[in-house]
């Protein structure tokens, strides 16, 4: 059962530009997480935002969460070629159930 849906499916930007990815979900959550996956590799956790938080920063990453709209956004500022990867949101639903991952956004940063 897919909970999160990322938008856009693919994004191509120039190095130095900002990249914004969005995630929408359907049911109440405990937290929302963002992961990155380089081609053919496992996922790497980027950031976790709890349901009572609205915004969180980590380096060049900024995540927002709007529980009333059931949506989140991931902003990568001053993108680099090394940011090229797929980005997934994952939600932990209320009730202590496993994370549910979206289908991901493929980000290409062109040098």
């Amino acid at each position: 059962s897919q909970q999160g849906e990322e938008d856009p499916q693919a994004l191509s930007i120039q190095e130095g530009e900002n990249a914004t990815m969005n995630c929408s979900y359907k049911t109440s959550i405990n937290n929302l997480q963002w992961y990155r996956q380089n081609s053919g590799r496992g996922l790497v956790h980027l950031i976790l935002i709890r349901s009572n938080e609205r915004e969180k920063h980590s380096g060049r990453l900024r995540v927002t969460l709007d529980t009333s709209k059931k949506s989140s956004s991931l902003l990568i500022t001053a993108s680099r070629a090394a940011d090229t990867a797929s980005y997934f949101c994952a939600t932990e639903r209320v009730g202590n159930t496993p994370l549910v991952f979206g289908k991901g956004t493929r980000l290409s940063v062109i040098a």
Binding site: S1, G42, L43, V44, H45, V100, F101, G104
Partner: protein, 114 residues
Amino acid sequence: DVKVTQSSRYLVKRTGEKVFLECVQDMDHENMFWYRQDPGLGLRLIYFSYDVKMKEKGDIPEGYSVSREKKERFSLILESASTNQTSMYLCASMRDSSSSYEQYFGPGTRLTVT
């Protein structure tokens, strides 16, 4: 640093073979997970385990079984491999389910069934 290892990066098996995918984590995590990842479908949960000898079905358990005899090891078993099980298989571990924690992933096993 947490390390999650998977027994093979690439595996080619024939239809009908029994396939074992092994996953080991070194951080004494309680929870372990098996996912498959297919283009356009994202990650789908096959099975997970909250403790040794415990297992729970995920969203797509059909055709798979699991074994967790030791805390650090979680095995995925394809009893009789079929071509529709050709996929990338990802194992993950997590500290426990009592609070909000992230999952740590292995590098993945790309399985091809011919």
